[in-house]
């Protein structure tokens, strides 16, 4: 058998594909079948089971904003996941309340997903409702006007196009709002 794989390219090809597919299928096709929470949109009405709320699909305007977020590559520097680390839940928190960790059921409608791999800027998984439109307008024009020391590039063309600006802000205000976890008062004063 080994000799055959050593001298016959067909055998070698077949065996290397079989080995590849064992791991390939067990880690890509099987997990969503085993863990059904990946595909079930978040919904909870019972406060005893954790934060209540319901995940709703984005509307037309918010989806448009999401496209801009993708086009400008925001997701290269901003992750969208509050990980199971204490510091993450504090950093994503709001007015002294820790944020719940991100769970798969909060991202069911995300296509493409924007979890991200690099956190050059802060995580945005719970940013919705924290900063108002005027804050975002100033910040997109020049981030350093609001956050000295920031290295985020300015995005003046987003502010100048009123429709695009409205869309991207509308999208960002949805982030992390499926779970109703925090004090009511929106926006930084």
């Amino acid at each position: 058998m080994l000799r055959k794989a050593d001298t016959s390219a067909t055998w070698a090809a077949i065996i290397s594909l079989v080995l590849f597919f064992i791991g390939g299928i067990l880690t890509t096709v099987v997990p969503p079948l085993v863990d059904t929470t990946w595909a079930k949109p978040f919904e909870n009405a019972d406060p005893a089971k954790g934060p209540t709320g319901k995940l709703t699909p984005l509307n037309e305007l918010q989806l448009q904003g999401r496209q801009i977020y993708i086009r400008e590559g925001c997701w290269y520097c901003h992750t969208q996941q509050t990980r199971t680390l204490l510091a993450d839940t504090k950093r994503s928190g709001w007015k002294g309340v820790d944020s719940p960790v991100s769970t798969p059921d909060e991202f069911v409608y995300d296509d493409p997903h924007l979890f991200g791999t690099k956190r050059t800027g802060p995580d945005l998984s719970r940013v919705g409702g924290k900063y108002d439109e005027q804050w975002h307008r100033t910040h997109f024009r020049n981030p350093r006007d609001l956050v000295p020391g920031s290295i985020m590039p300015p995005y003046p063309w987003l502010v100048e196009d009123a429709a695009e600006f409205k869309a991207i802000v509308a999208y960002m205000q949805t982030l992390g709002r499926a779970k109703d976890w925090r004090p009511d008062n929106d926006y930084e004063e």
Binding site: M1, L2, R3, D6, D35, T37
Partner: protein, 60 residues
């Protein structure tokens, strides 16, 4: 979320057994197929084009 503690322990042990059995099977096959014989390493001289270069490589 469901508790997968026991299934993962069963998985880990059976996986380990499977790997050991696989290693044994392949060890026996390599002996049968002559991998440990005198010509078992011949293939590596194929990178050298000419006969002389090949012989040189073998002796150095």
């Amino acid at each position: 979320m469901a508790d997968y503690t026991w299934p993962s322990i069963y998985f880990a042990y059976s996986y380990f057994v499977l790997m050991v059995l696989g290693a044994l099977v392949f060890l026996i096959r390599t002996v049968k197929d002559g991998y440990w014989g005198a010509r078992g390493e011949d293939v590596k001289y194929q990178v050298f084009d000419s006969h002389e270069e090949r012989e040189e490589g073998r002796t150095s």
